[in-house]
Amino acid sequence: MADLKLDQIRKSYGAVDVLHGIDLDVKDGEFVVFVGPSGCGKSTLLRIIAGLEDITGGNLMIDGDVVNTKSPRDRGIAMVFQSYALYPHMTVYKNMAFGLKLDKQDKAAIDTRVREAARVLQLDQLLDRRPSELSGGQRQRVAIGRAIVRQPKVFLFDEPLSNLDAALRVQTRIEIAKLHQKLQSTIVYVTHDQVEAMTLADKIVVMNGGNVEQVGSPMQLYHHPQTRFVAGFIGSPAMNFTNVTIDAVAQNKVTVSVPGGMKSVLPFDVPADAVGKLVELGIRPEHLTLGEEGALTVSGEVDVVEKLGDSTYLYLKLANGDRVTVRAAGHSRVRIGETVTASAPAGAAHLFAPNGKAFAKIDCPAEFSADDDT
């Protein structure tokens, strides 16, 4: 087990820059998830850590050693691929033992390690089968087993659950979480699924366009997104955004007019010269409730209703044309075409400058804060 340090990692393919100087510290035993939309460079970054891609600039350190030019085998990593990448002509046992045999390790020791890994992953009964005789979930467990037996310093997972069906994905996700608790190993995990990121990670790295947008614990990202991109990416359904005008600025208070003409006073530190400017207000669907109790109200016509049983999502069309999702109770009887008003406490709001940066929130109430989480 070891820590991992990325120092100004850059990657270009010819004239195209894919990664623009990534800095990151991964502590020993930490579960770090890279998340972002496709093409954001997260997989490239993982492959750079693995040694499958060359580094254009910067330094990569594993356990204090610069490993920029080392081959994958000398880095002490093990990688689990989205496609499993099992050796099709070998049995499960041989798949797991193959890498070890090459290291000229003692046969009995290899056998113990493979059987131990198989036991942990419940593959004991399948050791003599070929990959083609296994289900998707079993194959993925073999791929994980193949990584475990190598006892690497860092585990790398490249979208390992993307090829599994929904039910199996949840199950395997829990198994990976348990495995991390048990092995206490350093894991770097790439996914485009923010639910996986939220549930598994100690630390999430949100990436966008070859840059790191924000690094933080799942709750920090959820409650204190530093940019509009992170705010929109983390959380499901996505945060609602609408343009508001700043009417007045006071000490740690800002007055904005929400579409529909209503004014709200929100606890943000906004510079005085922002008065009259257009900024973006963000609010999560689950923080909106039907009714007018909150400081922040929106109203609009319901054009879609999604009933999930435990909750109902109402999709509202505001006066300015923006759409707002409201999470209502499961027994909500709101119908399409009705005009409803929803509101949220002022503390639930997020405010973003035109450049996408978030304004600092003052005196954040406990239920909208990650302070006790960190």
């Binding site: 691929f81 099709p88 193959f98 990959p131």
Partner: protein, 282 residues
């Protein structure tokens, strides 16, 4: 159109397709059939009724006894076999390695090198017979099996490299990268993972390489016609004279010559059928 009509149409199509294929098979196999049946006939029998099956009157093993007793048939056999097997081994090994290099590693001039190797498919090697003969004389390899092996390797490599490169492109990238992460060296990846996976392609290439070599008369004739080094196709020629041809012996030795190549084909063709990549990814 009703269901039964569709089925009838399907059936008639199948009949037509099978009729064409059967005809082709007959056309292709009939000469071989003629060779084999006439090998078992007397000389008179061959000339009087070349199409007829051997009967009590015409049946004879004269040809076989002549071939096995009066000529160095075992030696010709041994020569052909040695040349073919050694060539196949060398072609497969080097073609597979070259294909791996061309498909897996990006290096300057890689594409040009691939094209250069592919040109060999289009240019018949017999065009270079004179220079090849000169070269072989200069190297002092006239009348050796080595000369034949070298020429056949040169003849077999281009197509083998071409076919194997295409197959290697189909091996999922993840598999190689997984092996690299597993700490497997490049040579081990090639021999322990890539080669087993392209076994069907290797078998195909082996068959393609083997048959022209076994049947070749040209290069044995100009490069190794000396006593003791003749291959089977050349050895048969001693029964074909300017004035008299010993057809019994020619046909008998040709019949015998089919057997080893048939066995090799059967061995390789079993590999052709196997698909091994299933279960690797997804």
């Amino acid at each position: 159109m009703s269901f039964s009509n569709i089925r009838r149409e399907d059936a008639s199509r199948a009949v037509i397709v099978h009729a064409i294929l059967l005809t082709y098979t007959l056309v292709a196999l009939y000469p071989i059939f003629l060779v084999v049946i006439n090998a078992f006939k007397t000389r008179k029998g061959i000339f009087r009724d070349p199409m007829g099956l051997p009967n009590a009157e015409t049946f004879s093993l004269d040809g076989f006894t002549k071939v096995l007793a009066k000529s160095n048939f075992e030696l010709f056999f041994y020569n052909s076999f040695t040349v073919t097997i050694v060539t196949i081994v060398i072609v497969l090994l080097f073609a597979a390695m070259a294909a791996w290099a061309l498909s897996e590693y990006k290096f300057p001039g890689g594409t040009a090198l691939g094209l250069y190797l592919a040109i060999g498919i289009m240019v018949p090697i017999r065009l270079g017979s004179v220079s090849i003969l000169n070269l072989v004389v200069d190297l002092g390899l006239v009348n050796t099996l080595t000369a034949l092996v070298l020429v056949y390797v040169a003849q077999g490599l281009p197509l083998a490299i071409f076919i194997l490169t295409e197959f290697m492109h189909q091996i999922p990238k993840d598999l190689k990268e997984a092996a690299r992460c597993d700490g497997v060296g490049e040579f081990k990846i090639f021999f322990a993972i890539i080669l087993p996976l392209i076994r069907p392609a290797v078998a195909t290439v082996a068959v393609f390489t083997m048959i022209p070599i076994w049947n070749d008369l040209w290069f044995p004739l100009i490069l190794a016609p000396g006593d003791g080094k003749q291959t089977i196709t050349l050895g048969v020629q001693q029964f074909i004279g300017q004035y008299v041809t010993d057809w019994n012996a020619v046909l008998a030795s040709l019949s015998l010559a089919i057997i080893p190549i048939l066995i090799l084909y059967l061995i390789f063709s079993r590999q052709l059928i196997r698909g091994l990549t299933s279960g690797a990814v997804k």
